[in-house]
């Protein structure tokens, strides 16, 4: 409203930086948009083999088709369900295990070196063994996801508990907090940043494990959908599957970031971020 009152010179001064800011905001989109346009034109002109790289519009219509026949949602739901159950079981055990070894030294002596040893095994290599054990049903896939997410949560919970400021724990003792109060008011919140880092890694591993497991043995789920599409050379569906994975990965990332923002609002880094918001 005060802009009218400004002299032309000052107005120009004001618009120039905002134009630059506008350009800055556009820059990240420039490359993807350019690629999309070139890609579409090249595909339509027959410059690239549509078998290998269908046009963006073809992928969009594949999206629409699979949305209408319900297969996209059914497969996404099948995968999400496995992912979440596995996360709950494996992540829960990892958290509890890390808490036990972090808080209680005998548990560390007994368990930690075993866990560190097993950690060296690439857990995807367990897939064939797990299929032999459980067959190709749901159990095998959930088991694999659980193993995949166990380790990051275990390690980061343990690390978080162990690196809680000893001085704060001592203060809490002096000021008469009992074990439970110390755990809930000092140790768990202190370990939380590290636990959340573990959660973020776990979510990445969760999708990754599931994709491989579903690719190898499944009759539903996103991994099955894309692998099936590859066999029938439906490249558009393959790319669609990749995009859905990206979206799910992003969603998981957003979720942890939201948890972080809420849970770590005491942290100076988050306070600065909030103050800088317009």
């Amino acid at each position: 409203m005060t802009v009218e009152a400004l002299s032309p010179a000052r107005r120009a001064e004001r618009t120039r930086p905002s134009l630059a800011r506008f350009g800055r905001a556009l820059a990240p989109w420039a490359l993807p948009i350019l690629i999309l346009v070139v890609w579409e034109i090249a595909a339509r002109a027959g410059l690239v083999n549509a078998r290998l790289l269908p046009a963006p519009s073809t992928i969009a219509s594949a999206f629409w088709r699979s949305l209408q026949d319900g297969s996209l949602i059914a497969n996404t739901w099948a995968s999400t369900k496995r992912a979440l159950i596995g996360l709950l079981i494996g992540g829960g055990l990892g958290f509890l295990g890390g808490l036990a070894t972090g808080l209680w030294r005998p548990a560390e002596t007994l368990l930690d070196s075993t866990v560190q040893m097993i950690r060296n095994i690439p857990h995807l290599a367990l897939i064939p063994l797990v299929i032999l054990w459980f067959g190709i049903g749901e159990t095998a896939k959930i088991f694999l996801v659980a193993i995949g997410v166990f380790f990051p949560l275990y390690i980061n919970t343990f690390h978080g508990v162990r690196t809680v400021d000893r001085q704060l724990v001592e203060m809490a003792e002096v000021y008469g907090l009992d074990r439970r109060a110390r755990l809930s008011r000092i140790i768990l919140p202190g370990a939380l940043p590290s636990i959340l880092v573990g959660l973020r890694y776990a979510l990445g591993l969760m999708w990754l494990t599931l994709i491989v497991a579903e690719t190898i043995s499944a009759t539903s789920g996103l991994g099955y959908m894309t692998m099936n599409a590859r066999e029938f050379l439906q490249t558009d569906v393959v790319i669609l599957g990749i995009l859905v994975y990206a979206l799910l990965g992003k969603l998981a990332d957003w979720a942890t970031k939201a948890i972080e923002r809420r849970a770590l609002s005491w942290h100076p880094a988050y306070q600065i971020a909030r103050e800088n918001k317009p």
Partner: protein, 282 residues
């Protein structure tokens, strides 16, 4: 295994103990180490005994002795070396490609504002795709043979390296860089004496994470159709119902993964010596 979390493994020093430093003697430490292997060793022995006494067949979960026998058999026929070598060459090929690309692009976006604005958002978007999801597309594009496998590993290695290098470069303390100007170092000397040492630790961590992911992705790549490599031994073991072969291959994976990581770490150690000396200061 969870290579992605490798960098967050608690360093030995961070495992603060309630007991004051220096109180624990060497004997107590080795006693703790011994106690630590009690569980796996005990479980192995118990399982061995259970199978030997006929309470369980051990077909699905073979006892340690059978796994060792299988390892010896595979080694004596030469199959173990052959498959290990093939897998190793895939990992190293993909690692080299991904690491070079990651460092190059990381340096570009870490030093140029324009390139960062242009490229980084796209990489960030691509990053949220689990690299494994590319497998079917790579197979369609590059065929089912070596190229698609090595590319997958390279993509997996690329992202942690790229992110590690570019964020390390961006966070180089401006004051540190100013030291170069104060002492009138040449541009080259500034890079060599100040910039490189300050991003090297993060780069090594990124490379190790990338290598760990490379080992994970070679498993996935070899699942998707291979007639050789340790992953082939896994799939073969599954199809023929031979858990001993699967376990032998898994163990080999673990040993090779650990060994290559140790080699990478020791190769980097001479360049990081100044960092250790900070930690050792009394």
């Amino acid at each position: 295994m969870s290579a992605a979390s490798q960098s967050f493994e608690a360093p030995a020093e961070a495992r603060t103990s309630a007991a004051p430093a220096g109180r624990r003697s060497g004997r107590a430490v080795s006693a703790r180490l011994l106690l630590g292997v009690v569980l796996p060793l005990g479980l192995g022995l118990v399982w061995e005994a259970v199978v030997a006494s006929g309470f369980a067949s051990g077909r699905l979960m073979p006892p340690p002795s059978r796994v060792i026998a299988e390892l010896v058999r595979l080694a004596s026929t030469g199959a173990l070396w052959e498959h290990s070598l093939i897998t190793l060459s895939r990992v190293l090929g993909g690692f080299a490609g991904g690491a070079v690309a990651g460092i190059a692009l990381g340096v570009l976006t870490g030093t140029s504002r324009l390139l960062r604005d242009l490229l980084d958002p796209s990489f960030q978007a691509l990053r949220s795709i689990p690299s494994i999801a590319w497998v079917p597309l790579f197979i369609l594009w590059l065929g089912i043979f070596e190229a698609s496998k090595v590319t997958l590993i390279a993509v997996g290695v690329f992202f942690p390296v790229y992110l590690g290098v570019s964020s390390a470069l961006m966070s180089v303390d401006r004051r540190t860089a100013e030291v170069g100007r104060i002492f009138r170092l040449s541009r080259l000397a500034t890079v060599r004496r100040i910039l490189l040492p300050s991003i090297l630790p993060a780069t090594v961590v990124a490379l190790r994470t990338g290598l760990g992911l490379g080992w994970m992705f070679v498993v996935a790549a070899e699942f998707m159709g291979a007639s050789s490599g340790l992953g082939y031994l896994l799939v073969d073991g599954q199809q023929l119902g031979k858990p001993t072969q699967i376990l032998a291959a898994i163990l080999t994976f673990a040993v090779l993964g650990k060994a290559t990581d140790a080699i990478l770490a020791s190769l980097a150690a001479p360049f990081l010596r100044w960092q250790d000396s900070v930690g050792e200061a009394p």
